[in-house]
């Protein structure tokens, strides 16, 4: 698929983190980047927009990122959710794998890693 056809959902409770990540994704050529500010909103936005890839923070109010991934995959087993979190500890990595996450990025995010993930999913034809 073409990169400009890809839909991306960015979930983070920090408006600054969302903006930074969104800016770097838009710079890669993606036109449709949606945002969610907590785990609950992430689930509803996922259902609403059906994105090819989700970038998901872990430490968030209301519902954390691990719970959100679990619910998203229950709803759509083919969902590709990348954890993007400051807490890349052993136990969170395990939790993320168990929940079915596609990849795990440690914050501060390296734009090159974001690009690698977007390009890989794009090459595979999206979700």
């Amino acid at each position: 698929m073409n990169i400009n056809e890809m839909k991306v959902l960015v979930c983070d409770d920090s408006i600054l983190s969302r903006k930074k990540l969104k800016d770097s994704i838009v710079a890669l050529g993606c036109n449709e980047v949606f945002e969610a500010a907590d785990g609950e909103e992430a689930i509803s936005k996922y259902k609403e927009t059906n994105p090819d890839v989700v970038f998901m923070d872990i430490v968030m109010p209301k519902k954390d990122g691990i719970e959100a991934v679990t619910e998203i995959l229950k709803y759509d087993a083919s969902a590709k959710v990348v954890m993007a979190s400051s807490v890349g500890t052993q136990s969170f990595l395990k939790d993320a794998i168990k929940a079915g996450a596609y990849d795990f990025l440690q914050k501060p995010l390296d734009p090159a890693q974001v690009e690698r993930i977007i390009n890989n999913i794009c090459t595979q034809g999206g979700k």
Binding site: S17, K19, S86, V87, Q90, Q106
Partner: protein, 292 residues
């Protein structure tokens, strides 16, 4: 990190005033190193020899290095070596003080010698800056022996200093720690670390200082208090605490968790028996508070 602690040392020894320190921190990154200070720092020349070269320079149109070699103070190889070195932050700070007339070359010579010997810092360590182990610097700043786990607190504070440098730049100096916070109308950003090492961490700053801090962290010019400013304070604390939990998970197999960070205006409750590390930036002071 030696740059930051060198500023703290100069302040404590009353070699510079707080106003001069702020001025020096501001000027540091636009300061050009001069051979005199480099030669004093390397131990190749004394401050008196540097003054002698300056006097000669005022009488003849010759470069500092040429005169110093002619007088037999240094070899031309030593001059080349000094010129090829990357200037270190603490040297730039010292040069800024000398340029502004806050310190003489002789005072700089004494200060750098005493600072290195007081904290048993070798020249190699001074040059490695962030990579070396600054435990003794932290211990000279704060007595952690009364805390539940001095090693954990020490690791936390070392990482804090390194993350401040990494994410906001190196133009700051830690001031003398305090042990309480009185209620005030500053902004406070808080995040708790939970698990086997449970602490509450916060960052307190007045509005103008927080805006400047946020601008540095976000690498964007922010001019007024808005949601990006609070988000930047939350992000810094969250990334710093996150990296701490990752380090502890990897090195000690201890799994810690974080609560979502939050910024509010106004410190409503006094906090006693806490570790307060004030960080002096050119634009103001940010206080980091860690519960014991």
């Amino acid at each position: 990190m030696f740059t930051q602690f060198f500023g703290n040392y100069l302040l404590n020894e009353k070699l510079v005033t707080p106003e001069q320190l702020i001025d020096g921190l501001q000027a540091k990154n636009n300061t050009r190193m001069k051979l005199g200070v480099l030669a004093i720092n390397a131990g190749y020349m004394s401050s008196s020899q540097v003054e002698m070269v300056h006097m000669k320079q005022s009488m003849m149109d010759k470069r500092f290095g040429d005169i110093a070699v002619e007088l037999g103070f240094v070899t031309s190889e030593q001059i080349d070596e000094l010129l090829s070195q990357q200037p270190q932050g603490y040297l730039l700070l010292g040069q800024a003080f000398v340029d502004k007339g806050y310190m003489t070359n002789a005072q700089f010579e004494d200060a750098i010698k005493n600072y290195k010997s007081k904290y048993s810092i070798t020249d190699d360590e001074m040059n490695e800056a962030q990579d070396s182990n600054p435990s003794h610097l932290i211990d000279s700043l704060i007595d952690l022996s009364a805390t539940s786990s001095p090693d954990m607190y020490r690791e936390y504070i070392i990482l804090l200093m390194n993350n401040l440098i990494r994410f906001t730049g190196d133009d700051f100096t830690p001031l003398q720690p305090e042990s309480s916070i009185a209620p005030n109308d500053s902004y406070i950003t808080t995040q708790d670390i939970t698990g086997k090492f449970s602490i509450s961490t916060s960052l307190i700053a007045d509005e103008d200082t927080l805006i400047q801090f946020a601008s540095k962290y976000a690498c964007e010019e922010i001019t007024e208090m808005n949601e990006y400013v609070s988000a930047a304070a939350c992000d810094f604390l969250n990334i710093h605490n996150g990296l701490f939990t990752v380090n502890i998970s990897n090195s000690q197999q201890i799994e810690l968790r974080l609560t979502p960070p939050d910024t509010v205006k106004g410190v409503t409750q006094a906090q006693n028996d806490v570790i307060v590390i004030p960080i002096q930036y050119p634009f103001g002071v940010i206080k980091f508070v860690i519960s014991k």
